[in-house]
Each structure stands twice: as structure tokens, then as C-alpha cells.
């Protein structure tokens, strides 16, 4: 059985199926949060279980918050209201920070995140919060489609006035003919498997990257062979870096 993987959007409205999927995706974390909260309320958990309950509630709430942010950003994108607040950003530090923040979500599936950098200065004028969102969405996508107990490799390198951040997973992969569609709004990768999720994260990531004058692309050797998502952003020139920094 295979569900339609492209959620139909007509005009400004979500289709019934899209709304049902949105409801489903919002409900799933509620189930987890409610379950652990009820256990805490009963007062029967030991110290280790209580810590697990709190950690799960915090982590799941963060995931749901990301989901709601994505939904709001979808509206901003459609209205052309997604704006950037530019500041100096060290891309390598930003990526390391996001990877650290995503560790609890990855470890819930026994997934390790390896972060590497070529050590070059990777300063650019960009919206730090939005660029964090890009990396978070790329990592969340990798975690979602990776098998348990696997590894995600994240690498930041400088090349010809640009910085490239790649997120490589060993997950379900993407069929070659579907690679161009991966970043479309409400498009979930059709790898021949039924998919869950809204398919918003990568579309939002692409828009944010484009607003920074960069580009984003996906590569995969095919189904079951993992995928690599890359972001390339223009670095600021020496002159720009010498100029007064935005307040």
C-alpha cells in the first residue's frame, strides 16, 4: 500500500489530506508528552524513570515546537514575509551548536552525529537563527530517515569564497528522479515507501538558503543507500569583514 506522497495544496488552502496529515503530525508528540506527564502525575516513577520522563517531555516539546514553527514559516513563505535579520555568523560554530542541540533527538534512536570542519574561518553576514533552522531541519530529516544505531556525518568546509555544510546519513535514500523534488513545499520524498511527515522542513531550508544568496541540493546513490544534503553559502569578503559590524 502506498500513500500519495505529494500533499495537494490548492490555492491558499491545504487539502483535506494535508490538514489530516498536519493534525496527525501534531498529535503524535502530544501522545508521548501526555503519556509521560500522566506517569509523573501518578507519582509512581522512580528517580531514573522520572528523569527519563522529563527528558522525553522536553525533547518532544522541542520537536513539536519545530513543527509549529515550520507551519508558520510556510505561511510566511507563501506571503513573501520571510525576512532575515543579518549579523556576523561563524558557520562552523553555528553548525557545531546545532549538532549539539540535536544530539538528544538523535540519541533517542541511538544515532551518533559526527561533526567535522576544515578549521577555516567561515564568517558570513546572515540570520543566525534562520541558518540554525536550516541546519536543524537538515539534521532532523537525517535522523528521521536513518535507521536505529547509525551515524550521521556533518562537515563544514570552505571552498572558493563559499562555505559548504553537508549532512550525510545512511538512511532510506532518495531515487535519482525524485532528487529535484526533495525541496518542494509539501513534498515528501517518494522513495516507493509510504511516508510520514509534513515535508515542510527542507522546503523552508531551501527558501532560507536562497534568501542568503546560497543554494541547497540533495544527492543519493538511490534507495537504501543514504543521502547527502548540502548547503552552500557565500562567505563575506575581507572588505565586508573589515567594515563595521551590524549592531
Amino acid at each position: 500500500m502506498k500513500r500519495d506522497t505529494g500533499l495537494a495544496v490548492s490555492g491558499d488552502d491545504l487539502s483535506e489530506e494535508a490538514l489530516a496529515t498536519v493534525a496527525h503530525e501534531l498529535r503524535t508528540p502530544v501522545q508521548t508528552i501526555a503519556g509521560w506527564a500522566e506517569l509523573l502525575q501518578r507519582g509512581t516513577l522512580d528517580a531514573r524513570q522520572s528523569a527519563r520522563a522529563l527528558e522525553t517531555i522536553v525533547r518532544t516539546t522541542a520537536l513539536q515546537s519545530m513543527l509549529i514553527d515550520d507551519l508558520l514559516d510556510r505561511t510566511r513563505i507563501r506571503r513573501g514575509e520571510l525576512a532575515l535579520k543579518r549579523e556576523w555568523v561563524d558557520m562552523a560554530s553555528l553548525v557545531a551548536r546545532v549538532c549539539e542541540a540535536m544530539l538528544p533527538i538523535a540519541r533517542a534512536k541511538d544515532i551518533e552525529i559526527d561533526v567535522g570542519s576544515d578549521g577555516a574561518v567561515c564568517d558570513l553576514l546572515g540570520d543566525a537563527a534562520r541558518l540554525e533552522q536550516v541546519m536543524r531541519n537538515l539534521l532532523a530529516n537525517a535522523v528521521k530517515f536513518s535507521p536505529r544505531s547509525s551515524r550521521i556525518e556533518v562537515l563544514v568546509t570552505k571552498l572558493l569564497g563559499k562555505v559548504r555544510a553537508t549532512v550525510k546519513d545512511s538512511g532510506i535514500g532518495i531515487r535519482r528522479e525524485l532528487l529535484p523534488n526533495v525541496f518542494e513545499l509539501f513534498r515528501r520524498g517518494d522513495s516507493g515507501h509510504p511516508q510520514r511527515g509534513l515535508g515542510l522542513g527542507l522546503a523552508i531550508a531551501r527558501r532560507i538558503v536562497e534568501l542568503h544568496g546560497g543554494r541547497i541540493y540533495a544527492a543519493s546513490d538511490g534507495e537504501g543507500k543514504g543521502s547527502t544534503l548540502s548547503v552552500i553559502l557565500p562567505l563575506s569578503s575581507v572588505e565586508e569583514r573589515a567594515a563595521p559590524r551590524p549592531s
Binding site: H24, G35, W36, L39, A108
Partner: protein, 153 residues
């Protein structure tokens, strides 16, 4: 999350099964819970353990191993298991352990789920988010059905 009790069925056999094949009887319902979300299964297992002896599986392979170790009275199974549905596994359970009551849970009552009820691939459906009182009642109701069949009511 292992419960007490004992299995009376021959877990490795696949032939000559009948509705009367014994499963287990330790006072609590032997429940196999299958969902790919470990956070959810761990919480659900704790919430249900006062009434059920809960075994947890987070993928189909684990569930098959548990099923072969001991056939549960009741299977509580999510519709979506990662990137696949549980339909194939439900068919397997229907063949391998026909006396196991199969309860499906999902966040969305899609048409295909209703058709699973129609073709008796599942005995009952629970909408997520689960209310655990309702879930327990549903499990007990399903297992009462087994008891009724066993005593010939």
C-alpha cells in the same frame, strides 16, 4: 518490561492452530505493544502494566521474535511503523496466532484502516492520542472475547 506467567502455546509451531489454542493465563493480559516510537511504547507499557503484562517491540522484526517466543492474548499495534504500514505484519499475526486479538491504533482513521476492520484483519481500532482508560477497556473487552470463545459461550 517482561511480565510473569507462562506461555502454554507452542511458539515455534505454525500448523494446526485453532481458536482454542491456549495462550497464557497469569491474571494479567499478555499484551504485545508494537510502535516504532520508543518514547511512546515505554510510557504506554508503564501506564498499562497494572492490568497487562506488556511486551514492547519497536519494529516488525522485534515483534516477530516476541510473537514466536510467546503468542500474546492481544496485540496493540500502530498503523505506521517507520516507513511501512503494519498491514503485512497483521496478516502474519492473523495466520500465525489467530487467537491473538489485534487492536490497531493510529492518529488518522484513514479509509484503508476502516477496510482493515471490514476484512477482520483487526478486531478493534483506537484513535491516537490514546486515552489509557479507554485503551485498557478495549484490551479487556477483546480478551473477554477470547475467554468467551474458550468456555464456549
Amino acid at each position: 518490561m517482561e511480565g510473569g506467567g507462562h506461555a502454554r502455546g507452542n511458539a515455534s509451531g505454525t500448523t494446526a492452530l485453532s481458536l482454542r489454542e491456549p495462550i497464557m493465563c497469569d491474571g494479567r493480559t499478555d499484551l504485545l505493544l508494537l510502535d516504532d516510537d520508543r518514547d511512546l511504547t515505554d510510557a504506554a507499557a508503564l501506564l498499562l502494566e497494572s492490568t497487562c503484562s506488556v511486551r514492547v517491540a519497536n519494529d516488525v522484526s522485534e515483534a516477530r521474535r516476541e510473537l514466536q517466543r510467546r503468542r500474546p492474548e492481544c496485540l496493540l499495534c500502530d498503523y505506521w511503523l517507520g516507513q511501512v504500514t503494519s498491514i503485512a505484519f497483521l496478516r502474519f499475526v492473523g495466520m500465525y496466532s489467530p487467537c491473538t486479538r489485534r487492536v490497531l491504533m493510529s492518529g488518522c482513521p484513514f479509509d484503508e484502516i476502516r477496510s482493515l476492520l471490514d476484512e477482520r484483519l483487526v478486531h478493534s481500532f483506537l484513535a491516537k492520542p490514546l486515552d489509557y482508560e479507554t485503551t485498557l477497556r478495549c484490551i479487556q473487552c477483546q480478551c473477554q472475547h477470547i475467554n468467551d470463545v474458550e468456555v464456549g459461550r
